[in-house]
């Protein structure tokens, strides 16, 4: 698929979402669509690492929480506009991503997963412990001011909804561009066989770090959108269960297909709501679902389709 076609499809998709949200005008519909946009972005950003680089981060919510808190705190100073605060937050994310990433990528496989998780819990404990700055368990106190900029007033739910959809779709297009670029294929080489990639001259460690930072930037952006949406930031944005949820999302939808995480985020939301409706034992049911996917299917929904498509590709007879 060419970049131009993707751009058109993205625009159409965004337009349809916005049209649905605005024409129904129902607050509940808008809420659901906003949540789905934000979590889709979170899942897509995580999949840069898991699906394309083969690095299973279990601490991705670190960036989500980081973005929400830094942005929220900046806005609470009342001295900065929304776009400027977002830009500063993403810059800070780059720095934090580079520092934590430089340590995390020194480990591979499951140690990498644990180290990302540990870093996330470091951030969480700072948020929960530094009450005078963050409000601790209660979350950022007093809400996040949303002053109008460039004629956009994000205090209006409908305008915030439109912006959230547009930012999410644009980010998805950007992520798509990254994973389809030569760099994206270099990440796939690392995922498939890091040793071989190294012997082909791919700077494996540097690319891993870049992927880590990029993934963090988009995760942080999702956090910024979330803090705008709820007009606040809460410690559970940076809690490990959200990282776990993000992993479940991408595994549900599939990690080998670009839109797998989006489908997964949607499935996860509905599954979550459904489980909550039928039982109070949410963890047990979700755990069993997870076991069925991992041990039964061994892959997500779109992975299954992709596998089938690949197996239909021509297989040559022995070389002539």
């Amino acid at each position: 698929m060419t970049a131009r076609l993707e751009l058109i499809l993205g625009a159409v998709f965004a337009a349809v979402l916005i049209a649905i949200g605005l024409s129904l005008g129902d607050k509940a519909v808008i809420d659901v669509l906003m949540r789905l946009s934000i979590f889709s972005l979170l899942a897509l950003s995580l999949n840069i690492l898991v699906g394309y680089t083969g690095l299973v981060s279990f601490g991705h919510a670190m960036f989500f929480g980081f973005g929400a808190y830094v942005f929220g705190l900046l806005m609470q100073t009342n001295a900065i506009s929304i776009p400027a605060a977002a830009a500063v937050t993403l810059l800070a994310t780059c720095v934090w991503g580079a520092v934590s990433g430089a340590l995390c990528i020194r480990l591979t496989e499951i140690y990498f997963s644990f180290l990302t998780l540990a870093f996330q819990m470091l951030l969480y404990s700072v948020i929960a412990g530094w009450v005078s700055l963050t409000g601790g368990d209660q979350g950022l106190m007093g809400g996040i001011p949303r002053p109008p900029f460039l004629g956009i007033d994000l205090a209006q739910p409908r305008q915030l909804f439109v912006l959230t959809v547009i930012v999410s779709v644009l980010s998805a297009l950007a992520i798509r561009q990254i994973v389809q670029s030569p760099f994206g294929y270099a990440l796939r080489m690392i995922r498939d066989n890091a040793e071989r990639a190294r012997f082909l001259g791919v700077p494996v460690q540097r690319y891993k770090l870049q992927a880590f930072v990029l993934s963090g930037i988009f995760g942080s952006l999702a956090g910024i959108l979330m803090s705008l949406y709820v007009s606040g930031a809460y410690p559970n944005f940076a809690f490990w269960t959200l990282s776990g949820d993000a992993i479940i999302m991408i595994v549900l939808g599939g990690i080998t297909v670009f839109l797998g995480p989006v489908l997964g985020a949607v499935l996860f939301q509905f599954l979550n709501d459904y489980i909550n409706r039928i039982t109070e034992h949410h963890g047990m049911v979700m755990g069993v679902v997870l076991l069925v996917i991992v041990l039964g299917l061994r892959k997500g929904v779109l992975d299954v389709l992709d596998e089938w498509r690949q197996s239909r590709k021509p297989r040559p007879e022995a070389a002539p």
């Binding site: 299973v56 990690i255 963890g283 991992v294």
Partner: protein
């Protein structure tokens, strides 16, 4: 930040003794969990993400046994043996299916059990904080050491953990079982060819690791309150300990755990907000200077 308080504490032996004793029990509990993580990893090559949940299970088993029998000895046995048996079943039915599988599958199977066990504990024992209280056998006046008070239970807990460390080292270093385990860690197939049931060895090792975590949970019951999800923090800490000490090294886990315990104990005096930060800084330094950990073999 209150470094004056820290300096004051260091100049008074009573304060030093008190903090060391509380640092020791923090460290010993972490060690018992971490030694299981590192043992299972060393032999099975799997990092058990559900190990904190096993610690939790041990605490709840112990609580129930204590309420029923009123005996702390039975409580510890129930925590260790009950969790150990659970570990064996867990390994046979689930973990054994993901040996050699990708990291994501291993992680997710364990994560599924974290969700299930946390929720199951909540369903069975309720979501509130439960407390065992100090068992009668330890309701004694505190020991006086160099002017500081040390609760007798603290001394018992430390002695118990040290004894299990020694027993573990002896089991792995001196017995035939230990020889088999060490050989299986290097080459499972070869050991299998020699006619040894490696599936059984794997299950036993997992069970042993689980029992250590269960015992830690039981020992924690008198000094900490039990709650669903209580295993998570200690899982993270024991992971940090194994990174510092070196994955697969029991001695490393021991040293690392004491280090973390001391930072936590003296941190509450001098830098309560920064204890986590200091712990992480230490891990970062180890990773940068000696990526395999203090006691780890290079090449990992």
């Amino acid at each position: 930040m209150n470094f004056d308080a820290l300096i004051d504490c260091f100049s008074a032996s009573a304060c030093v003794v008190t903090q060391i004793s509380s640092g020791l029990i923090i460290g010993m509990l972490i060690f018992m969990v971490a030694s299981g993580v590192t043992l299972i990893f060393g032999v099975l090559g799997v990092v058990n993400f559900a190990h904190g949940a096993l610690y939790m299970l041990g605490a709840y088993f112990a609580l129930t046994a204590y309420w029923v029998t009123d005996s702390f000895t039975v409580a510890v046995l129930a925590g260790a043996i009950g969790t150990g048996l659970f570990g064996v079943v867990f390994e046979r039915l689930f973990i054994s299916r993901v040996y050699g599988a990708d990291v994501l599958s291993q992680l997710l199977v364990c994560y599924a059990f974290v969700l299930i066990l946390d929720d199951a504990v909540k369903a069975i024992w309720g979501g509130d904080f439960l407390s065992m209280g100090m068992p009668e056998a330890f309701a004694l006046p505190p020991l006086m050491i160099a002017g500081g008070f040390v609760p007798p239970f603290y001394a018992f807990l430390t002695a118990f953990a040290v004894a299990s460390a020694i027993a573990l080292a002896a089991l792995l270093g001196l017995t035939r079982f230990g020889k088999i385990v060490r050989a299986a860690a290097v080459n499972r197939q070869m050991v299998g060819v020699l006619g040894i049931n490696t599936s059984l060895v794997y299950a036993l090792i997992f069970g042993l690791g689980a029992a250590l975590a269960g015992a830690a949970g039981a020992l924690a019951a008198p000094v900490r309150s039990a709650t669903p999800g209580m295993g998570f923090d200690i899982l993270i800490e024991s992971f940090i300990v194994t990174v510092i000490g070196g994955m697969g090294s029991i001695a490393g886990a021991f040293v690392g755990a004491i280090l973390i315990g001391m930072i936590r104990a003296f941190g509450t005096v001098g830098f309560p907000l920064a204890t986590e930060g200091v712990t992480f800084a230490m891990m970062a330094v180890v990773l940068l200077v000696k990526p395999a950990g203090l006691f780890g073999k290079a090449g990992r």
